[in-house]
Each structure stands twice: as C-alpha cells, then as structure tokens.
Symmetry: C2
C-alpha cells in the first residue's frame, strides 16, 4: 500500500471514528488539526474527494463536512480486526452477576439483556434458548378442577410449556399422576412426529393429553426463535439521530410485530461470533438506517438463542461487538451447564 493510499485509509478511519463519537459531519480542518497527519486541510480535501468518488463518503449538502456511507462503515468494521474487549472490571462484574443468577434461567436472560444494553449503549435483544427440533423430555399433570388439569411439558434444550386441559369426565390427581408416569416412560426423547407415529392405543383422556403435547411441540417447531427480551429502547431513543425523529415510531412498530426477529435476521446469526449488519444490508426496510450486531449462543444442535444489539449505523462497533461476544460466551457457558 502506497503512502497515499495509507493516508486515505487513515483519513477514512478518522472520519468514521469522529462521526461515530460526535454525530456531526467531519470537516477537513478538524481532521488536520486534531490528528497529526502533517498535511494541510486542502490535501485532506483532495483525499476526501477521492474517497467520495469511490463511494465511501457523502456530504449532507454542498458545504458540509464528510459523512461516512454504509461502505465506509463496512470497511471500518473490517479494519477493526479482533478488537479490544470490554474493560476487565466491567466484564468480571457482569460475569459474577450472571453466575449468581444461574439457577434462574429467566432472570439470567433479563440480566444479560439489561447489561448488554448498558454496555453497548443501545437496544439489546436476547432470545431464550431453544432446540432446533422439539423433543419430549418430561411431562407433568396437575389437577386444577374436577374436569380441568394443567399440563406442564418439558422439552429438551430447556423449554418448559404449559397448557390447560379440559376432560369430559372427572379425573383425579392420582389418575393424572398415573398418566404422567406412563407418558414419561414411553414418549421420552421422541419428536412430535415420533409420538404421532408410535400411535399406541389410547383412552379418551390419554388422547387429549397426547394431542396437547404434540400440538405444543409442533407450535414450538414453527417458531424460529424463542421469545425475545428487549432492553434499552430509551438508550436508542436518546441517540441524537433519533431524538424527536418520526423514525423511532417505525422501529416500535417493527418490534411489536410477532415474528420480526426471524424477518430481520434471516439466516445470518452464527454461533459464537458476532456478525455485523450495516444499514442497507438489512433486509427489513425500516432498519436501513440502523446497524445490527448479532451472535448465536448456546450449544450447537442442542439449544441456542440469539443475542444482539440494534443501534444507529453510527454506533461504537468495537464496543458493541465485544459486548455481544462477551454476553454470548457467558450465556453459552450457562446453557452448557444445564442442558
């Protein structure tokens, strides 16, 4: 790389960095003064003109400073390399906190999403872990009223689901317990289809239970991701580009949709390594002013969830990526313990 190309790259990095921290177009004089480049603003303007012709830079208007394009962010993220992680102390504190809550899965996810939002200063998303295909682990039946029982179904990969069952005749708790024992013995490890195929001779009540079990498992299979926990909406809204902007409403509308996460992610999240989706790389149109950093966590093939951060394209990628990676790693360890 020639000296000139090197300087252009430096200038590009400076522009992206400055724009990320100040949220305002970067002037050539600022670059020349605040960084020891030993060239005049005019030279920098020449380089910027070149970078603009290559599609890395735009200007909001004729006499405004430089603003990075999506291409510039992409390049910037590429140059980050294996960046610095979170500060040791923050990371350790978070680690301790998560360990303390390791017996309460829900609580742990809520802590994770809460701290991820604060580490990353943006909207954080964590989905509960789930298995790629539902497999029966255990069920339990609890009598509520004479004709009504509560079905609790445990699936492999830390999923627990409940449903109310109504019978045609009174069923006592003892009978329910007997039913549970029978099903636990024969259905263990089976998939929904497996249970349907095994088709043992069933009584009326047994059929009701089995149908509910299969229905839960199939519903579960249709979902792409577990229920997402979200935190830090107001951190996102406090960002200068969204302050009092109608665009935030489109984001809220997106988040209220049922399966927005599957639409947004497509296939992209991969295990253990944060992926960055910048601006127009987002398939969802309303996200094209945003960047998304996502990673999968969990144990491959057994149980996995997604952690991610959504923020303006002008986010502190280094910090966000390492936050996502940290949280992802810690949650993976946690899942491995009780899978």
């Amino acid at each position: 790389m020639s000296l000139i190309e090197e300087r252009r790259e430096t200038i590009l990095k400076i522009i992206v960095g400055e724009y990320i921290s100040r949220a305002m177009p970067v002037a050539s004089r600022t670059i020349a003064e605040d960084y020891a480049l030993k060239v005049s603003p005019a030279t920098i303007r020449n380089d910027v003109a070149y970078l603009e012709s290559e599609g890395y830079i735009t200007h909001p208007h004729h006499s405004a400073g430089s603003v990075p394009t999506d291409k510039a962010y992409r390049c910037y993220v590429g140059l980050l390399g294996d960046a610095l992680g979170l500060p040791e102390d923050e990371q350790y504190f978070f680690y301790q906190l998560l360990r303390e809550a390791r017996d309460r899965i829900e609580q742990q996810l809520r802590l994770a999403v809460f701290f991820l939002a604060r580490f990353a200063h943006n909207l954080a998303i964590v989905t509960s872990p789930r298995a790629p295909e539902s497999r029966f682990k255990h069920l339990d039946l609890v009598s509520l009223q004479d004709f009504v029982a509560l079905l609790i179904l445990v699936l492999y990969g830390v999923g627990i689901r409940q449903r109310i069952l109504s019978f045609d005749e009174a069923v006592s708790q003892d009978e329910l317990t007997a039913l549970s024992n029978k099903f636990n013995a024969i259905y263990g490890g089976m998939t929904g289809n497996g249970i349907l195929a095994s088709e043992p001779k069933l009584s009326r009540e047994e059929r009701i239970v089995t149908q509910a079990v299969v229905d839960i498992m199939e519903t579960e299979n249709r979902l792409e991701y577990g229920k997402p926990c979200i935190e830090g909406l107001c951190l996102l809204l406090n960002q200068p580009e969204f302050y009092q902007s109608p665009r935030i409403i489109t984001i809220l509308e997106l988040l209220e949709k049922e399966s927005w996460l599957a639409n947004v992610l497509g296939q992209r999240a991969c295990m253990g390594k944060a992926e960055v989706i910048i601006g127009e790389e987002n398939r969802e149109e309303v996200l094209q002013d945003f960047s998304l950093v996502v990673s999968q966590y969990g144990v491959s093939g057994k149980a996995s969830g997604v952690v991610g951060v959504l923020g303006p394209k002008r986010m502190d990628y280094s910090r966000v990526i390492s936050s996502v990676n940290s949280v992802s790693t810690l949650l993976s360890e946690s899942v491995a313990e009780y899978i």
Copy 2:
C-alpha cells in the same frame, strides 16, 4: 340546576369532547356554530370566563381557545355515567378469540393486551394473575444432568415457576420422582412459612429442594404484581401531543423500571370496576400529563391481575373505560374456569 348552570355544564362537556377529538383549543365560535346552543359566541365567552374562574378551563395563551384542566376531565368522566360499551360486534369477536385461546394462559394475556391496545387506541397493560399469598400446589423434579435437576413449582392461583438445582452427588430421575411424590404429599396447600415451620427431618437433597421452593414462594410474595404485558406503545406515540416530544422518553424510562407498576398504582385498582386516574392525580411525576384507566380482574382472594390503559389526558374516556371493563370481565371469567 338553573338554565344558566345547565348551559355551562353543556359547554364544558362540549369543550372536553371537542378537545378530546381534535387535540386543539376550542374556540367560542366553534361551539356556537357546531352545536345548536342558540346563543352567540359572546355569551359562550362569558360562560367560559366563569368556568375558567372555577378552574375548569385554561388557555395556552391569551388569544387561544379553551383547553380543559384536570378538573374538567374529572368532571367529564363523572358525567359519563355508565356509558355505552364497545360495539357489539367488536366485543363478540374479541370474546370468541379469547375463548379459542383459553387453554393457553400466556397466549390469552397477549391477545387481551393486543386487542385492548387497539380498542382503546392507546398503550395497554395486562399483568398475569397471581394469588395474594403463595401456596404450594405441586412440584416436579426433572433430571437434566447427573448433579443437576430442574425444579418446576406450581403455586395456587395459576403460577408456575422453574429453577435449576445443583446437588452435591448424582441423583437419578427415579430418586427425583420419589422426592416429588413425597413433597407433593406433605407440602400441599402450605405457605412458605408453613413449610419452614413444619420442618420435617430432611436429607441433604431434600433440603436443597425445600430451600428452593421456599425461596421461590418468598420472592413471589414480595412482588406486588405479576409480569406486565405491554402493547401499543406506538399507538401512544402517534398521539399528536407526543409526536416528536421528548416526554415519550420519560415514559419509556418509566416502563423499563422493574416495579413501576406498583409505584404507579399504589392501592387503587379495584376488582371489576375501571378506575380513572387523571393527570396530576398520578403519584408518578412523569405521568402527570397522562391518564390511566385500571381495573383488577380475576377471582378475589384467589388470583388476580390488573388490566389498564395509559394515554394522554385527552383520551376517549368512554371508549377506554368500556374497553377496560370488557377485557377485565372476560379475563375474570377465564381465570375462574381454571383456578
């Protein structure tokens, strides 16, 4: 009530109604023209001056029309009486929908909050039902790894909680099942304190389980309300008074707090009848530009939750109140079925 007083009340109702539907100060001429009062704008101005001196009306500035005060809204709500409910067809449609999901408690709450938000055109809140004091109903232990098990605890009043247990030595599923049976036999119907007081001789493993059970029950008792489901944030944000206003951020910050609902409600929600909290009647300062309509649902003493709607003071009280009442009634029926 003299003729003049009657006219003043009518004018007050007109001003509140117009302001609710148009979100703009109401001019005396508008009142005279659009409503057949048979008096001139000047007369109306005199009455408005009186209403202002009594604290029912303000003006954003000298030559602006009339805007109702909190006192006016309170009066307006009082005059509503037992207002018109929701349209029959909407109500019936919703009723059907809720019945279809009656075996899935979570799903039912989500449907309820979703439709409540849309009926009321504002932010809707529904908390899951819970009992005033936790009482043991049933537990189940599922082996996850040699030393690790999943505890599932069912409490009276439709609560189901889970926790991961770690033992010092390997415990098989058979042993776990035996443990469950034992506990189900002796702890049934007991409170957390009751279990502690009964203090049977316990093995190491039994102690771990019991401790977890008591801990869950006590944690549960400390919570004032179940986990709130929220819907319709963007409906709220689309209201003209919040459009591009920084006040929405304070609302988001409030909603992200752990126990905001208890702070906001205090003692107020009462069973089966919607309560209206207007503007400065809210104890929470950031809500003083809002109104809140809340009601309890469930079965008194057994299991109850809260349904509510949060919106601008300028909300359609008639519609919101009847929406809240409808949803509350339907959810109460539902809870009664499986309590």
